[in-house]
């Protein structure tokens, strides 16, 4: 059966088991209706102009999939296992307890599987779940909401700090068949609380894998969140990822997306500043090769005055790969004294690589400072000749220059293991 047929089957199966008096179930039924109405977005949709989901939708999918024992070895050798962290491991969207690790000793802090924890913490779950990631008009969010498998549920109470990073490791295992994974994360950070979250995506197996993930992050007043999204899914991997970060006053969010592998990756990163004096930092780096495709759509909503946002996305493209950047900054009517910066810079290493970039500013306030810009080019010849004239061979010089280009983003990463991973990928890919 194709993807649509699988989705229909999965949902009718879900409905036979679900208790429709549960608010959560009702939410999912509404989401499914929305998805049925919208269908998969086509390239005729302005927001999906360059991103074609057809290759995934046409794949054949089966109903279920057993967990492959080889996953254990895969997790063990993963770089994300080297980080001292609270680790939640999901395989094809399902939580795997025996592969997960918990270091946090404060029992007030919730770090666990959404499917289990939501029952234990019903009030806070219902207060936040589905409140930030929009379903109306967003087919893939609707799909995720209707058919989500599992994901991380993190709650940090007021004033608390999670002492180690939380790694949410998502693995698709397509060793036996094509797979569909729909992880769903909910992160609720209390007042003056802080946390570091690393969302990682890896893949094993040679069949196709489609990940359709949604993450909602709520940051109460004075909260501080470091959020990393690391995508390196090898093989035939497709991913659509939606993240909504909702900020109350005086919050600081540092977000970095690294897209290092994947056949097709579409990221939607939305920030909403719902209070004054927020800092929102959005950084991204994508390194693409072969015929890979990476699309970063970002949206920053300056809804209140006196907020600051800084966005920088950089890309290095090889072979026949394609990247899309579409960054929208919305400065609402009463968001005076907004400072918003946005840049997208790309280096093409091949004549056959393509970048489509569209920085957008929509400003309704009249006292703001906003800049945006985009560049697409090749590695400059002058620095190259300069390095070579000092005895550095061409390939070493190119690596030095590309590392320097990536360094801008690497310096925003406060986890040494992730910087190492990035350096390795640059070394390996370039």
């Amino acid at each position: 059966m194709n993807l649509q047929e699988k989705i229909n089957q999965d949902f009718s199966q879900y409905k036979t088991q679900a208790n429709s008096s549960d608010a959560f179930v009702q939410l999912r039924e509404q989401a499914f209706t929305e998805f049925e109405k919208l269908g998969f977005p086509s390239t005729k949709h302005e927001e999906w102009k360059y991103t074609n989901l057809k290759p995934i939708a046409e794949q054949s999918f089966q109903a279920t999939c057993e967990i492959n024992p080889a996953v254990h070895a895969f997790v063990k050798q993963s770089i994300f296992s080297t980080i001292q962290a609270n680790r939640l491991v999901f395989v094809n969207g399902s939580f795997v307890q025996e592969l997960s690790t918990m270091l946090e000793t404060n029992t007030e802090i919730i770090i666990g599987s959404l499917a289990t924890e939501r029952h234990k913490h019903k009030t806070i779950f219902e207060a936040h779940f589905g409140k930030y990631a929009q379903v109306e008009g967003q087919a893939l969010n609707a799909l995720n909401t209707a058919l989500l498998s599992d994901g991380a549920f993190v709650v940090v109470p007021d004033g608390k700090t999670v002492s180690h990073p939380i790694v949410i490791l998502n693995i698709t295992d397509s060793s036996a068949i094509n797979v569909l994974a729909q992880p769903r994360n909910l992160v609720v950070i209390g007042k003056s609380a802080s946390v570091t979250i690393i969302e990682a995506y890896e893949a094993m197996g040679t069949n196709a894998a489609f990940t359709n993930g949604v993450t909602e992050v709520y940051a109460a007043e004075n909260a501080h969140v470091e959020h990393y999204k690391i995508q390196q899914q090898a093989g035939e991997s497709y991913q659509n990822n939606f993240t909504q970060i909702f900020q109350e006053a005086n919050t600081n969010i540092n977000h970095v997306t690294l897209t290092l592998d994947g056949t097709m990756v579409r990221n939607n990163l939305h920030f909403y500043m719902n209070g004054e004096n927020c800092n929102s930092l959005l950084y991204g780096l994508y390194i693409t090769d072969s015929k890979d495709f990476v699309d970063n759509h970002t949206r920053v909503d300056h809804a209140k005055p006196n907020c600051f946002s800084d966005e920088k996305y950089k890309g290095i493209l090889k072979d026949q790969s394609t990247a899309v950047f579409n960054g929208k900054i919305m400065v609402h009517l009463d968001a005076q004294k907004t400072n918003a910066y946005q840049r997208n810079q790309n280096i093409l290493l091949s004549d056959d690589a393509t970048v489509n970039t569209k920085p957008q500013l929509e400003i309704f306030a009249d006292d703001v400072k906003c800049t945006h810009g985009a560049t697409i080019g090749q590695l400059d010849e002058e620095p190259m000749f300069y390095l070579r004239s000092r005895g550095i061979p061409e390939d070493v010089a190119r690596k030095l220059l590309l590392n320097a280009f990536a360094d801008d983003i690497a310096e925003k990463i406060n986890i040494p293991e992730l910087v190492t991973l990035l350096e390795q990928q640059i070394e390996h890919k370039l």
Binding site: E382, R388, I392, P393, A404
Partner: protein, 252 residues
Amino acid sequence: MLEIKELKAEIEGKKILNGINLVVKPGEVHAIMGPNGAGKSTLSSVLAGRADYEVTGGTVSFNGKDLLDMAPEDRAREGVFLAFQYPVEIPGVSTTNFLKTAINEKRKYLGLEPMEATDFLKFMREKMELMEMDKALTSRSLNEGFSGGEKKRNEVFQMAMLEPQLSIMDETDSGLDIDALRLVSTGVNKLKDGKRSFVVITHYQRLLDYIVPDFVHVLYKGRIVKSGDANLAKELEVKGYDWIKEEVEAGA
């Protein structure tokens, strides 16, 4: 050491060098002067291996090897150094990392083990003191935000680190005030050891007050039209280039 014979080069079909002949022996300092557009910078670019120029005739041998046949990095590793007229800013690459890479690539080329990190730092510290370099400059990105004078001093510092046999200095004096000029020249003079050679390309005589040449050549229309000793530079300072142009035109 360096032997240039009948060197001809052009860029985009425009002939710039029309048969240069020059022999530089170990320990010698040669100044190449000439009016704007004479081909001075082209000569340095061709010797360093810049790709924009096409060599259409002649030969250049360096220690008996065909220099024109080598990639720019190989020329450098054989011992040729070009001090740029406009040193390039490279954000994200620290001067230290850059120099360590350059030195170790040269050592690899010569069949030597890479320098230990501590030995490298010690070596760099010595050269920094010798060149009176500000420590802060080496931890910053290569040339990024450097003043004109700092960039030129960084070129001479790199020269000290890479220990070339032949240094070609392309209008190192351009854009320097008198204090920076003195610092740069002092640096260069400290590197003279009787074996190293220098080709100093300049439009003005004032640099040659500090780096005293053994030979002065005047380049005009892509040829060396007059050679002499340091006094020729002084004569040019007083009389300008017009009399040379006239001599050449009359001869032609």
